[in-house]
Symmetry: C2
Subunit: 215 residues, 2 copies
DNA sequence: TCATGAAGCGGAACCTATTCCGTTTTCGTG
DNA sequence: CACGAAAACGGAATAGGTTCCGCTTCATGA
């Protein structure tokens, strides 16, 4: 089971926290120590319960109880259930972002745009598949909410940039379209309702990425 | 305001009705007359309230009350709120299906596969944009539920077929990917959060469809 | 150290979608 | 027409996400 580093794994994935974004925008005044501690307790509790009972069957009440806090605290810290999922996803997303921004080619800098894009698509699909339940939950938020998360903005910018370098028309819209094909719902559908394996999926997606890179 | 033909506009768009599918599969025994009448009353009431107050702010209770039936009747007839939306969408979807299957080219038969596909994509995007609120609601159902609707199956089959004729690799996955780019959430995002106009969107989507048609 | 106001807390209350189940209506049969 | 089973009904009850608000704790600075 993955470690989400108890105390400060918190989020850097934005989510649009009600109080202050913590990581999304520049740091303001320091948060109160009890608040930080509670966020950590909540993330631990959520991870534990999600792993044990499945994301869908864990209620916010249950998470609050397991963490030893009130539900109000959950909502102040994460906004809603989807936000909690995004925060849990944060750790792994950051790892992938790292590789994408400064890791070795073809995912990282140094390869041809099209190759970087196909590497991104394959890697991201794998990330989604690995964390399917959490991704599905995170994309459950109000329609369009996911587009506003800091994490998503990064994926989009990256794709747009690569498409742009490759000379593709409408790089912005194509970036969004590509990411739409990488939604949890889509991957879940291919994986579970059409019994495709991840390799098939990433191959096909890489092909699409290549096709969309073309002028 | 659109007429949903009071009595029998019902659905032919499937939705996975709890009791019997009514139109999805071959007709079984005839439904009870009171049930048919109630479905009509519900559709009328829903359309009226949705138009007046906005889809999001209309509760199932309110629809039931306006229709003069109990909530149980709503759920027996449409499964859930998303199902109700799908049923309301049905009318216009059927019109588009008609054009797509037997209308004039390039949407209908007779044109090159790629041209038919771009026509489909543009037309479908327009349909979604026109009915944005209902589409968003209909896609709110349990993750993946939309892939199981009869309507969606038809769109997918059509795209897959055209992509296949055009010689594209992985026509099935590409069809799904194309439809993912046509989701209500995606179109809404482009339209409202990026102030694109429909023409821009359909142009870009048509370009993508063309790119994806390529071997 | 103490006062003070902001930040955070807990958990009851709220709002809705959805389910359940006892009652009523239909419809085919005898 | 009368019956009985099946199909529908209605609306109270349930469940779980989210909001609200009075109370506590922390951080600051005098």
């Amino acid at each position: 089971m993955k470690e989400v580093s108890g105390t400060d794994s918190a989020l850097s994935t934005g989510v649009s926290l009600p109080v202050h974004g913590q990581g999304e925008a520049g740091a303001e005044r320091s948060r109160r120590v009890d608040a930080v501690r509670n966020q950590g307790k909540v993330l631990d509790a959520a991870e534990r319960l999600f792993a044990r009972d499945g994301v869908e069957r864990v209620t916010m009440q249950a998470v609050a109880k397991e963490a030893g806090v009130g539900v109000g605290t959950l909502y102040r810290g994460f906004g809603n259930k989807a936000g909690l999922a995004m925060a849990l996803l944060g750790e792994r997303e950051r790892q992938f972002q790292e590789l994408m921004i400064s890791g070795p080619p073809p995912l990282g800098p140094g390869a041809e745009p099209t190759d970087r894009l196909t590497a991104f698509v394959a890697g991201y699909a794998e990330l989604v598949a690995d964390q399917l339940e959490l991704v599905l939950l995170s994309q459950t938020a109000a329609p369009g909410a996911r587009f506003r998360s800091g994490a998503h903005a990064l994926w989009r910018t990256h794709c747009r940039h690569l498409l742009s370098l490759a000379g593709a028309p409408s790089p912005e819209l194509r970036a969004d379209a590509l990411l739409a094909a990488l939604s949890g719902e889509m991957i879940a559908h291919w994986l579970t309702e059409q019994d495709r394996n991840l390799a098939e999926i990433t191959d096909a997606l890489a092909g699409m990425a290549r096709a969309l890179s073309t002028k």
